[in-house]
């Protein structure tokens, strides 16, 4: 019983991991940029949700009306900057690390380093849960999973069915040839940056629903989210979703059966195993000479 509950709760929480990882994975796969600043956007998304909901007494989910456009602009601006600087994949990691540090300090200056949590009267979701027999699911995890599923499904459809989506996949596989067919990768990358920023707003909102916020949480996401990105396959949205669930279940079950202390080790081993077993499969465009 315990294990079933842990598995299902883990899977639902995995939705949040997938939501956080999806944007990172797509930017890495399509634009060859490892954007650590994405974690900063999620953090700001979470704090904005907290702030808007608290000051305006708005339902936290409705705050998306504010946060999504704001994060869209921020994400697009960062992407524009990266494009201007013509960074290599590796330097993008360093520059975005710098940006992340700045973001974290700025949030800390604005909202202090103390824990902040939406009070129960503005956040009805935190305390509610759905019972299914003897299994109990907090509403927040259901929201996380639902939104993640929606985002992944949406991204999947856009990437498969629209001209812009096909162009993005084409850029990921062969930028020069895509260009020869009229694909302007600069414009698309700014657009993609914006959309990825918007998913950061969603992830931030979901996180704020069920957690107390402190600027340093951004660091705590690193390990788990990168595990999801690498396991899911860089640039693969559906893979990311599956990996999110896998990682959620793995952490949940290991914590429940064994000990919470073991969870990080299991995760880390999973990344290494994935890298050892499927090295080519994990990276884009395996070119043959």
């Amino acid at each position: 019983m315990n294990v079933i509950q842990a598995t299902l709760t883990g899977a639902l929480i995995g939705g949040l991991y997938a939501l956080m990882a999806a944007g990172l994975s797509v930017t890495w796969g399509v634009l060859r940029i490892i954007n650590l600043a994405h974690f900063g956007l999620i953090l700001i998304g979470a704090y904005l949700t907290f702030q808007v909901a608290t000051s305006w007494h708005l339902d936290p989910v409705l705050t998306l009306v504010v946060t999504v456009p704001a994060m869209f602009v921020a994400g697009a601006a960062i992407q524009w900057l990266f494009d201007r600087l013509r960074l290599t994949e590796f330097n993008s990691l360093l520059v975005s690390f710098g940006l992340l540090i700045i973001t974290i300090q700025v949030t800390s200056n604005i909202w202090s380093a103390d824990f902040r949590r939406m009070s129960a009267d503005v956040n009805p979701y935190a305390t509610q849960s759905v019972a299914l027999g003897r299994l109990v699911f907090p509403v927040t995890t259901l929201v996380a999973f639902g939104l993640a599923a929606l985002v992944v499904l949406g991204a999947h459809l856009v990437l498969r069915r629209t001209f812009a989506g096909r162009a993005m996949r084409a850029i990921a596989q062969d930028r020069a040839v895509a260009g020869a067919f009229g694909v302007d990768h600069r414009r698309l990358s700014v657009l993609l940056g914006g959309v990825v920023g918007a998913t950061a707003a969603l992830a931030g909102m979901v996180f704020a629903l069920s957690n107390a916020l402190t600027p340093d949480t951004a660091y705590e996401w690193f390990g788990t989210v990168f595990a999801v990105v690498i396991l899911g396959g860089i640039g693969e949205v559906v893979g990311t979703f599956a990996a999110g669930i896998l990682v959620g279940v793995l952490s949940g079950v290991v914590s429940a059966v064994w000990s919470p202390a073991a969870a990080p080790f299991v995760l880390f081993s999973a990344i290494i195993l994935a890298l050892l077993l499927r090295p080519q499969g994990l990276f884009a465009a395996g070119g043959v000479r």
Partner: protein, 238 residues
């Protein structure tokens, strides 16, 4: 004769320090099939890549239909009706055949009629219709070449550039590809074929250019080049 569809003058192309083309001039007129032959490393691919905007020109002028496209950013060149079948095909391996083809119609004026264009491509390559849902990377070499040509046709080009369409294909497949090129030309598309299979290319072309070590060594009617000792010597190095 009227103004040529493609006019390349005084073209120099460099890769960093290495200069690949010197003072190259070629012309292609509406409805023509022109081939560019020469030994490996003569700069044939560089030439078509420069025309398609994949690699920038260092000096000189490239105009398509009278419009100077030399300094346009790469993705704008195809808006003037140029499409390329790159060397080694360079299809998008992790996209389906259909997605590869539809991507070809990315440029604005080709998007709306892309369903009709697609029907036309399937007419030329019926096998692509059967394989529409498969990942392009899983196809055989000949089928991948069809995808690459089909993708270029989806852009509704006035000028089709083919870079070594016979590379790595079995002889039967080469026949199929060259049949298709002939039919495409009959529909009014001007064609430039770059080939190391010299005889094959000269057989379908009206006019031809011989490149050697980055320069145009010889040009004229294809039949003339076919019988030329110069071509034989240049390609074989004898």
């Amino acid at each position: 004769m009227s103004e040529p569809l493609l006019q390349v003058r005084d073209l120099d192309v460099r890769y960093g320090d290495a200069q690949a083309l010197w003072d190259v001039a070629i012309e292609v007129h509406e409805g023509e099939t022109v081939c560019v032959v020469g030994p490996n490393g003569a700069g044939k691919s560089t030439l078509v890549n420069a025309v398609a905007g994949i690699h920038p020109a260092h000096r000189g002028r490239i105009s398509v239909g009278g419009v100077d496209v030399t300094r346009l950013r790469g993705h704008r060149v195809c808006g003037h009706g140029v499409a390329i079948v790159p060397e080694g095909r360079r299809i998008f391996p992790r996209m389906t055949v259909l997605d590869n083809l539809v991507l070809g119609a990315y440029r604005k004026s080709a998007r709306r009629p892309h369903r009709e264009t697609l029907a036309g491509v399937y007419e030329i390559f019926p096998r692509l219709a059967e394989r529409a849902g498969q990942l392009a990377g899983s196809l055989s070499g000949g089928e991948q070449q069809m995808v690459a040509i089909g993708r270029a046709l989806m852009a509704q080009p006035r000028l089709l550039l083919l870079d070594e369409p016979s590379l790595g294909l079995a002889p039967v497949r080469v026949d199929e590809v060259y049949d298709a090129i002939g039919r495409i030309n009959e529909r009014g598309v001007s064609v430039v074929v770059v080939e190391q299979d010299v005889q094959r290319a000269l057989a379908i072309a009206g006019r031809a250019y011989l490149l050697g070590e980055g320069r145009v060594v010889m040009s004229g009617p294809a039949a003339e080049l076919r019988d030329s000792a110069e071509v034989r010597r240049s390609v074989l190095g004898l």
